[in-house]
Amino acid sequence: MADWLTPDEWRAVALSLRVSFWATLVSLPLGVMVAYALARWDFWGKQVLNGIVHLPLILPPVVTGYLLLVTFGRKGTVGLYLDQWFGIVFAFRWTGAALAAGIMAFPLMVRAIRLAIEAVDPRLEQAAGTLGASRPWVFATVTLPLILPGIIAGAILAFAKAMGEFGATITFVSNIPGQTQTMPSAIYALLQVPGGDAQAARLVWIAIAIAMSALLLSEWVARAVARRISGT
């Protein structure tokens, strides 16, 4: 394709897209579940769960990265067993970057979906129950279609956040070109070498373009869906 980017830069852009895509896709079902629990259920430890979900938003990213390292690193409390039993390794792999990005983006995703769930009238769900729909069916046929704009908004917000994640990623999986060097890491690396500014600027423009398109796309999709389900 275009030769105005070096292979390394291309790899950084492609890796960022891949990391963000998987981070968003895998965390989405979990995000919907957590948002539903926080919006609709009263349970013991609800505030604790709420706190844990929001922690990555307020902790310094480097702290989140460090915690990921001690938990999911090769010798980490969880990472050790994941490696031994399932052969899954996060440390210094692109999957680790996806994990870091997914966790950092999770609070934003949950917030958007939770707001959408809270806007759904529970009396509609009650009506669906009297018409013979069990709880899972009510969720699938009434709740889910009504919160779709919120889910789309949450997913795109999470994707954009994952694209820009830097601190936790570089702490957890370092900055290995072609392996774990995402776009922000590449920009950072280029700014460390003399004469890298021009190259960095190109990546900066790409980052801006991707972020803007994601935002516009989410607006457009959410509006189209909202029109469809507003009932007019």
């Binding site: 009396r123 009650q126 009297t130 013979g132 729909a133 046929t141 507003s230 007019t232």
Partner: protein, 363 residues
Amino acid sequence: MTLQIALRHRFAGFVLDVAFEAPAGVTVLFGRSGSGKTTVINAVAGLLRPDQGRITADDVVLLDTKAGTNLPPHRRRIGYVFQDARLFPHLTVRQNLLYGRWFAPKGAAAVELGRIVDLLGIGALLNRRPGALSGGEKQRVAIGRAILSNPRLLALDEPLAALDEARKAEILPYLERLRDELRLPILYVSHAISEVARLATTVVLMEAGRVTAAGPTAAILSDPVTAPLLGLREAGAILLATVVAQDDDGLTRLVCAAGPLWLPRVAAPVGASLRVRILAQDVMLATTRPIGISALNVLSTTVRDVRMGDGPGALVQLEAGDEMLLARVTRRSVDALGLAAGQPVFAVLKAVSVAQENVGATG
């Protein structure tokens, strides 16, 4: 189908304690707001779990707190029509109507979509979305949606309360047709006596969480003891009448057990049988047939019961054949005319005093 209900539930500062039976037809739970009517049908539909209770529909146990049985709402098959239609905004009217069909038991005798659409007059709305419907249209769709879920019982919680008078008048005939054409038992919550008079087969009167009277509509409405419980000004019996002719001067001629009856034009074909609610305060009594009087209707009846009120009023129950009438007069008039059970008496009724909304189809 007969629904048996026995419930006890304690709220803050309020105890609900009711037991009654709802036979086939329309059973209206009547009472002021706060009397516990909605709590009762919520318990029937499974939306509220009472402290103690047992609810059965024929031999199906919906709730039995002693035995620990409590079917969840989706397994009770109670078609619930809420005060605020609660249509699904993301579905079209057709999809709303067919929603319950997915979950109805396979092989059960299903009501046809086309029949319900015709019955409720919603054919033109099928491809519209709920947001674009008027209040009356929404409520008709909600009723259709509940029926098409193939329920064993239809439960309506003040379905007309949120509508203006014109919309109410628009929906009442549809409810009458449902009652008369579908063999579906209906539990109907209302605080409007006109709905009781037009729809109810059985009335259950509720006050402060208790049942104060229950029985067949005609008997309850014409009983001088129970009628005042519905509100003295509103007290009035139901007369069954058949349309005989449409006169040229805008009157409709009917015949009832007590003789001919003229009413302002009733939009019903000759031969149609109607329920006419006659307010007790509109009925005048005379011991001899009055002549030279503008009132068109003079019905010959017999006094069945006289009940003196606490104030200056009295309620007189009259009978003509199997039919009952109720008249509200003063105690002074009762004394002056010497009214007593068994005495023949003429009931005088102005034709124009019977409002259009007090005439409905029979069932």
